[in-house]
């Protein structure tokens, strides 16, 4: 437990809260809980819609299980403004969403974090997928001759959760030490701004008239190719090319026609095919070793299940401190003075437990 994170945060989505904002809110709370904050989830009589996402049978889905770890749940028959007002009065911070009218509840906490899908009061129905489309991120991933592609998981909502946590931690700092110490602060973040911020390089730079950036996929410089037991991402910058050629020791890569980056870009499919040919007999473990030996940024594609036994994850106890029932999940991606913050063990019973 950190002194600075010894606070109480209330997660208070409105009953009509859009799903992406519920996910974002839960991610903000998850980080706070991992750092040692007391995080209270409000759950109405109909249950949290997150429970059923990806669920099989009556069990909670993996998304809910991951995001609700280390939190306490306040069950309320009906989530009403007056009930939330009473609870929020005893908390340091509340994270909530703007309602469909564009206003958030004026809850009596020192710090109120307000999330929305858009910066304005646009009330259109939105998903993480459609906001990623509007923010240009979808168009950046995948093959140019196929449909735009989303990244795995809930990246738009999780990224909004990170943004909200940055605002929350900053407001907590300001409450103690800022020029307006002790005064109320409102933090605002929205899905659209967060994704545009992440995708900033796609917006043409002032002073240039370069072609707009688009997904390069199988014609791009960085491609994913097959190896003996799976796939590997060929990732490299100009400075890495010589080391890559030396590591592979394939005379075909020394073709003068491939000497310059511009040449290789024009021949990207050929370059990828040549590299893939070299990887035919190499396993991902072999490629990892080669990458380490030759300082190459190659990326063997590991599955989440394989990472439980990955030497890097094992050495750093990345999963060990985050037991949820029989499952294992990543711990907070931070070592502070060599230790991962958070309780040494997690009380599995806390998940979904009602505290009144």
């Amino acid at each position: 437990m950190l002194h600075a994170t010894n606070y109480t945060l209330l997660e208070a989505p409105t009953p009509d809260c859009p799903l992406p904002l519920r996910v974002a809110m839960a991610m903000t709370g998850r980080i706070a809980a991992d750092l040692g904050a007391n995080v209270l989830r409000v759950e109405g009589g109909c249950g949290d819609p997150l429970r059923s996402v990806g669920a099989q049978g009556n069990d909670d889905g993996a998304l809910f299980s991951f995001l609700s770890a280390r939190k306490s749940t306040l069950h309320m028959a009906e989530v009403s403004g007056s009930a939330l007002m009473a609870i929020a009065a005893d908390t340091d911070a509340v994270i909530t969403n703007k309602g469909l009218g564009g206003e958030a509840l004026a809850l009596p906490s020192d710090i109120v974090v307000e999330l929305s899908c858009f910066a304005n009061d646009d009330a259109r129905k939105a998903s993480e997928f459609t906001v990623a489309a509007l923010a240009g991120l979808l168009s950046m991933v995948g093959d140019p001759d196929r449909q735009p592609l989303r990244l795995a998981g809930h990246q738009p909502a999780y990224a909004l959760g990170l943004s909200a946590f940055l605002g929350l931690s900053s407001a907590l700092f300001g409450r103690e030490f800022g020029e307006r110490a002790g005064q109320r602060e409102v933090v605002r973040a929205n899905l659209m701004d967060t994704i545009v911020w992440l995708n900033w390089k796609a917006i043409p730079m002032p002073g240039t008239d370069a072609e707009p950036l688009m997904r390069a996929g199988t014609s791009g410089e960085w491609q994913v190719v097959r190896c003996a037991d799976g796939y590997v991402a060929i990732v490299y910058q100009e400075a890495d090319w010589e080391r890559l050629c030396k590591a592979l020791n394939d005379p075909r890569l020394s073709d003068p026609a491939l000497a310059l980056r511009a040449d290789r870009l024009r021949a990207s499919k050929r370059v990828a095919a040549l590299i893939e040919d070299n990887f035919t007999d190499m396993s991902r473990a072999d490629i990892r070793r080669m990458a380490l030996d030759h300082r190459l940024p190659l990326g063997p594609v590991w599955s989440p299940e394989e990472l439980f036994d990955d030497p890097q994850c094992t050495e750093r106890d990345f999963f060990a401190a985050a037991q949820i029932g029989s499952a294992r999940v990543p711990g907070l991606p931070l070592l502070m003075n060599g230790k991962r913050p958070g309780p040494d063990t997690v009380d599995a019973a806390i998940i979904g437990r009602a505290t009144r």
Partner: protein
């Protein structure tokens, strides 16, 4: 006015991950000093966008975006005098951000133990690809390398096809780490201010990337196909469909939306996923993209055109207001903020510094050196002064 006003951060961050982290701290009001070496600049200074050359000598827009609000110091940390200056600055600072290759800071004689020796309250934020420790701590990586090794690429890709990474122009883990790392540094600054004890933060981008697909580790043993394109629970259908005018229309259709789809396009009542998908494919394929989106949105179905970056400023600007901020010369813009504080707003108060722009002021005002001493440092190549 910023919430971190009064905090001084020494910034050894380069390119995106490190420099963007300290840029966010600067946006929040911290006094951030960007430290480069006479022999090693931030490589972002040399990154010029593809296409027609910018005016000669112009600052790289990538560098400008990730180094606004900072002051500039050019200091050779390999020289004993440079190291001594650095330690003097560290003694009066609250934080230091770095994303060098692992071991570089120690080889410069500036490891955490040394820094804590001159300032026990200092927060050292070390951002690295795979962490300070472990057999892969020296693994060279760019953002998409980490998508592969962290499990994210395993689940990104077209249905039944090969894994996909976000690629060179997104490098997703490099972008997202700045938000997370800045928040962890703020939390540690809070702790340090309250207790007097600083900390060394070991921030692994690979671990963050895995954390951001945390739920997949719970279902890791499921037999489900690893890659399912754009489909995603809880949506009955989610994908992009090509319109008659070549736009990609993104649609997320919930189970309860089927009656809306029936009313709008005549899909069978209670249609299953494949029937809904085919109905959308045919219906959108026969219409202009903007018309299809407008009708779907009016019907209460989540739908949007898949925009490209060049259309964001003109076509979606009313939906966002802080990620990109108009300003600068020639109708330019600054990279803005992913979050805002209403009463102590994040703001951009100064442009990114030229090399060594503030060397003299910083050494004089913050480290207490006299002008003759500063001139001597410049003559010996320990520092660079602005022209």
């Amino acid at each position: 006015m910023g919430v971190l006003k009064g905090c001084r951060i020494l910034d050894l961050g380069i390119i995106t991950a490190g420099a963007a982290t300290s840029a966010l701290l600067a946006d929040l009001g911290a006094e951030v000093i960007k430290i480069e070496s006479p022999s090693y600049r931030d490589p972002f200074r040399a990154w010029i966008p593809d296409g027609p050359a910018m005016s000669e000598g112009a600052m790289s827009p990538f560098f400008r975006a990730t180094n606004r609000n900072k002051r500039g110091l050019s200091l050779d940390l390999k020289q004993p005098a440079g190291r001594k200056i650095m330690l003097r600055l560290a003694a009066s600072s609250h934080g230091l951000v770095e994303n060098f290759r692992r071991g570089v800071l120690e080889r410069l004689g500036l490891g955490y133990e040394t820094l804590a020796g001159v300032n026990p309250g200092l927060v050292l934020g070390s951002i690295s690809s795979q962490g300070e420790t472990g057999p892969d701590s020296h693994y060279v990586s760019y953002g998409s390398t980490l998508e592969a090794v962290a499990g994210m690429a395993w689940h990104t890709g077209y249905d039944g096809d090969a894994p996909v990474v976000s690629g060179r122009d997104v490098n997703y883990p490099d972008q997202v780490v700045a938000i997370f790392a800045a928040s962890m540094i703020v939390s540690a600054l809070h702790e340090a201010r309250a207790t007097g004890q600083g900390a060394h933060l070991d921030l692994s981008q690979r671990e963050l990337t895995s954390y951001l697909i945390g739920e997949t580790f719970i279902s890791a043993k499921d037999e489900a196909a690893p890659r399912i394109g754009n489909a995603d629970a809880p949506y009955l259908v989610q994908d992009c469909f090509r319109s008659a005018d070549g736009e990609w229309v993104a649609v997320s259709l919930e189970h309860r939306d089927r009656s809306k789809l029936h009313q709008l396009i005549g899909a069978p009542e209670g249609a299953h996923a494949q029937q809904c998908r085919q109905a959308l494919l045919d219906w959108i394929g026969a219409r202009q993209g903007h018309e299809a989106v407008a009708l779907l949105v009016d019907a209460g179905i989540a739908a949007a055109t898949a925009m490209t970056g060049d259309r964001l400023m003109s076509e979606t600007a009313r939906l966002w207001n802080m990620a990109i901020i108009p300003g600068g010369d020639d109708g330019g813009w600054f990279k803005g903020f992913p979050v805002q504080l209403v009463n102590q707003p994040l703001a951009i108060d100064r442009d990114a510094p030229e090399v060594g722009a503030d060397s003299r002021t910083i050494l004089s005002e913050l480290a207490g050196y006299t002008d003759p001493e500063i001139d001597q440092f410049a003559e010996e190549g320990v520092i660079e002064l602005a022209d």
